[in-house]
């Protein structure tokens, strides 16, 4: 059928409504009127099918090399196939043979190919030539870089002592984060790894390890109930557990359970992507989770629903704990949390009486100034209900090489080192159970107690952005004598702080490894380079060894090349490098349920939990010893009206951090394939709160707090609890929206007394028109 433009319009008349709507919703550029007229003329003029044809190149016919490796974008570390043709990565796909993702891969994993070739990549070492933060840099050679760093580090060591050098390894969330330069720092003489663990899983680790000796994973495949508490696995794509994927993809464990008829309950102030799939959604006021958990324990105890056998055999301090929980009635908790007392009762009964019940505690629980005790509350609740290391519950899946305890040799952060630094960690006095947080080190810079830090080496972490209190972080760190960062981009932290920036490679250009718990043992996955380092970038192993050599510290180094490093790191797994190269995903060890009965939880092989007395510590002995409350009493978070009533009069909204599926922390807003899905920093308010402020959807707004301000585009959304602002975190790098850093609003002086965690998920604020 041959159509002219005119009779096309006639023929399409019946579908005009659709056509018009399609136009409205379509983003592709439309042909101009002249283009359409040209087409018109052409088709009317040609009675025979002599339509002009274009030359269509077929593209490269070179063979495609498929490199099996491990994604490095987030903690999921999915198996990937990197497709390389003519020396260029042409795409990244999920590895069908990987036991977890089974061929599936999220948007970030696939779009990472654009990050590898990003125009923003650093290409050579950059030395600051203007004032700190002036953005003036000159490219220098590696030799010059090593010489400069060596001189500065030697000056610090000679003048103030090696321990005054801080180092911080961060966001790329693979084992290298903990391992980069560790041997170097140990030889230099500092153990001051201080960074973002206070924002990550470590506050939960501290709460749970001191309670029952492990941080658990949910046995989704065998459970009959899922409670997802303050986590949003359908946006993070981290279900909290690695094992048990019946179908492929990181969202599948929970979705498969739902298809089996398992009830999914979501507890969150926001109607999240995960709440959208829940059978029951329980809204809760930000920062009040500990109150809810204690009230659930109150119900379980007062209604005699607890697991008598488990408590008698395995719990320490039950009577004191029970007495402590008596005050936390559901009626009391209703006033704190906003969750009706009857809902609390029903939830507690359902959890206690469902034999196989998994309770996932999400990372938002680590972002409140009362977080450790709140997680303790949840851990104790699991214990008295007998839900530990049992089928369908919260299990201790086996650990192996480097993750992180077994290969430690005095280094708190990862791989074994040949020497142990003779140094006093800067957090020893303030945070004895949490040595690796940045906020405590900032206090030391401010006060000189226990000593004044003088230098900072950062590996792939956006230090001043990630923590609350952007301005305080920046201003205190700027007082240091010397700052060096290594990254793939010139981040806000590099720009504002660094004296020198070293160009790192991406995970597609180097070796690394990752270990995961698995229901049959443990997975060790090797990461291997798909392409050579681009530009004048170097792998962290090369940088570390060359810097050590340049400073005369390389004698007897346990490895000298990238290949030697990875063999050294993977050695304890008992699988050879050759075997890893053939198959980078290896299953090692074994696993079983109720390891506390068989001795599988303790290094000494004795039955019991990995705690001082082998019991679950309802009364926490390490906490008591270090001056913390040994019972999980509820204390209001600073960033809530209950915790700061006067501040709340001026700043009536509670801000809570939003993370979206297309970004990881502060990364990837310069990746257009991801950015187009969430192009602007957004702040969402319930319609009632927006109307009260005369604000409408799409308005440019300014969020204000007692610490600072930040700009966003307003979304008016029913997904947000009244009184709460759902605020995009992670914006504010030079390539996106420098005035939109949510952490400029967050107080980092008030923080969890044990884990140094600020109120990133509960901070007082207000919103005004920008």
């Amino acid at each position: 059928m041959r159509l002219t433009r005119r009779n096309f319009m006639k023929a399409a008349g019946g579908a005009a409504a659709f056509a018009g709507l399609a136009l409205a919703g379509c983003t592709s550029p439309k042909p101009s009127a002249s283009d359409a007229d040209a087409a018109d003329t052409q088709t009317e003029a040609d009675a025979t099918p002599s339509t002009p044809t274009k030359e269509i190149p077929t593209g490269s016919t070179s063979p495609i090399t498929k490199v099996r490796t491990t994604c490095g974008n987030c903690h999921n570390d999915c198996g990937v196939i990197v497709n390389v043709q003519d020396g260029v990565i042409i795409s990244i796909e999920g590895d069908p043979d990987h036991p977890f993702n089974k061929g599936a891969l999220c948007p970030k994993g696939q779009a990472f190919v654009d990050t590898v070739y990003s125009p923003d990549r650093l290409r050579s070492p950059m030395k600051r030539v203007g004032e700190r933060g002036s953005g003036q840099w000159e490219a220098i050679s590696w030799e010059e870089a090593y010489q400069f760093i060596g001189e500065e580090l030697t000056k610090i060591k000679d003048t103030y002592g090696a321990q005054t050098l801080l180092y911080t390894n961060g966001a790329p969330v693979q084992n290298i984060v903990r391992n980069a330069f560790c041997e170097f720092y140990a030889r230099y003489g500092t153990n001051n790894m201080v960074g973002a663990p206070n924002l990550c899983f470590v506050p939960r680790l501290v709460a749970l390890k001191t309670t029952y000796g492990f941080r658990d994973e949910e046995d989704y495949n065998n459970t009959d109930l899922i409670i997802c508490w303050a986590g949003n696995p359908f946006a993070s794509l981290r279900p909290g557990a690695y094992m048990c994927y019946e179908k492929h993809g990181s969202a599948s464990p929970i979705l498969d359970a739902k298809e089996r008829g398992v009830k999914l309950i979501v507890i969150d102030p926001i109607f999240t992507e995960t709440a959208a799939k829940a059978d029951q959604y329980i809204p809760i006021k930000p920062g009040t989770d500990g109150a809810l958990a204690n009230a659930m324990a109150n119900v379980v105890l007062s209604e005699d629903l607890y697991d008598h056998e488990f408590v008698e055999a395995w719990c320490h301090g039950f009577d004191e704990y029970r007495e402590c929980m008596e005050q936390y009635t559901p009626e009391w908790a209703e006033g704190i949390t906003g969750v009706p007392a009857n809902t609390i009762r029903e939830l507690a009964r359902l959890y206690a009486t469902t034999e196989r019940a998994a309770l996932h505690e999400g990372n938002s629980l680590a972002l409140h100034s009362n977080c450790v005790q709140a997680v303790r509350s949840i851990g104790c609740l699991r214990a008295i209900c007998g839900k530990l290391d049992k089928e369908g519950c919260n299990c201790c899946f086996p650990n192996v090489v480097g993750h992180p305890v077994p290969v430690e040799a005095g280094n708190p952060t990862g791989i074994k080192t040949t020497v142990v630094a003779d140094a006093v960690n800067v957090n020893t006095t303030r945070y004895p159970l949490f040595l690796n947080g940045l906020p405590g080190a900032l206090d030391a810079i401010e006060t000189g107690d226990p000593y004044t830090p003088r230098g900072l080496m950062g590996y792939h972490t956006n230090t001043i952005m990630a923590q609350g209190d952007y301005h305080r972080n920046r201003d205190l760190l700027r007082t240091l004598d010397f700052i060096c960062y290594t990254d793939i981009f010139m981040t806000e932290t590099c720009e504002q702080l660094a004296d020198i920036v070293l160009p790192d490679v991406t995970w597609a250009e180097r070796y690394d490894y990752r270990t995961y718990p698995h229901h049959d043992g443990a997975i060790v996955a090797m990461r291997q380079p798909a392409i050579e380092p681009l530009y004048d970038c170097k792998t962290p192993y090369a940088m570390e060894y060359e810097l050590a050599t340049s400073m005369g510290m390389a004698e007897g180094y346990p490895w000298t090349t990238d290949e030697e490093f990875i063999q050294y790191a993977l050695g304890p797994s008992g699988v050879s490098f050759e075997e890893y190269k053939k198959n980078p995903v290896q299953l090692v060890g074994t696993n079983e349920y109720k390891k506390y009965e068989t001795g599988g939880l303790r290094a000494d092989g004795e039955p019991g939990f990995d705690t001082a007395n082998g019991k679950v510590l309802l009364v926490n002995l390490p906490f008591g010893k270090n001056g913390y409350d040994p019972l999980p009493n509820y204390v209001p978070a600073f960033g809530t009206p209950e915790g700061s009533p006067e501040l709340a009069e001026q700043y009536p909204l509670i801000g809570t951090n939003r993370r979206t599926v297309h970004y990881v922390h502060y990364k990837y807003r310069n990746n257009p394939y991801l950015r187009e899905n969430h192009p602007e920093p957004e702040l969402s308010l319930n319609p009632a709160d927006a109307a009260e402020r005369n604000l409408k959807d799409g308005d440019a707004v300014k969020a204000v707090s007692h610490r600072g301000e930040a700009r966003f585009t307003l979304r008016v959304s029913e997904r947000v609890m009244p009184g709460v602002a759902w605020v995009d975190g992670g914006w504010g790098n030079p390539w996106d929206e420098p005035g939109s850093n949510m952490n400029a609003l967050v107080d980092n002086v008030t923080r969890d007394p044990i884990s140094q965690s600020p109120d990133i998920s509960s901070f007082l604020m207000d919103v005004v028109k920008a």
Binding site: A15, A104, E273, V661, N677
Partner: protein, 215 residues
């Protein structure tokens, strides 16, 4: 006869866009050229809400409105039911784009970097060779991948395992079984348009899917 089709289970879709981002980046599609998307609906009031994610792509219609309007014959429907555009004869006039009720087509007027003036990147340069200005582009159910024996990318990469692809006319295929099992929960988009799509949606929620197209 083979009639390729897809069933997308909206009860599993979490709206992550692994499908649409993967489609664009693995093909190195130029700026503005997108073959796959995800729409989002929220209805109700807090806390009683219904949120639906609706992945979109070419519906490979049995009666494709894009084919009827193509002035050069560049758009054809294959024996397997897949609608394709012959880039050599397409003049990029955009009539198909106007006619498609699903907004499934992109007109590439210029092959431009997703990084604007900072691009194209090495990855884009590699792929841009095969994209030609003044051409309509669209989803082909990954004809190029299927030729090589590979799975359709959006099906393979879905982290929620929400998609099934195959021959709708083969009762033993996964897609035919998924459609049969879906029963009354299966629906097509804009049924009244008479296009007879080969993409079916399995959905138990209450939102009206056609609302995404203003219908």
């Amino acid at each position: 006869m083979t009639r390729y089709g897809m069933v997308i289970n909206l009860d599993r879709c979490i709206g992550c866009r692994a499908c649409s981002v993967g489609c664009a980046v693995s093909r190195g599609l130029p700026a503005g050229d997108r073959w796959s998307g995800v729409k989002e609906y929220v209805t109700g009031t807090f806390p009683n809400l219904e949120v639906t994610y609706l992945p979109t792509l070419c519906m490979q219609c049995e009666n494709p409105s894009c084919l009827e309007v193509c002035p050069t014959g560049a758009t054809t429907k294959g024996d397997d039911g897949v609608v394709t555009v012959d880039a050599a004869t397409c003049i990029g006039c955009g009539m198909c784009d106007t006619a498609c009720p699903y907004g499934a087509r992109s007109i590439v007027n210029k092959v431009e970097s997703n990084h604007g003036a900072d691009g194209p990147t090495a990855h884009e340069e590699h792929h841009f060779v095969t994209h030609v200005a003044n051409t309509a582009e669209k989803c082909t159910f990954c004809a190029d991948r299927r030729e090589k024996g590979e799975e359709v990318l959006c099906v393979k990469t879905c982290v929620a395992d929400a998609r099934t692809f195959g021959d709708l006319d083969d009762a033993s295929s996964d897609v035919a079984k998924a459609l049969a099992a879906a029963g009354s929960k299966a629906q097509v988009l804009l049924e009244s348009a008479g296009t007879s799509p080969s993409v079916y949606y399995l959905y138990s929620g209450k939102n009206k899917l056609d609302d995404a197209f203003g219908a």
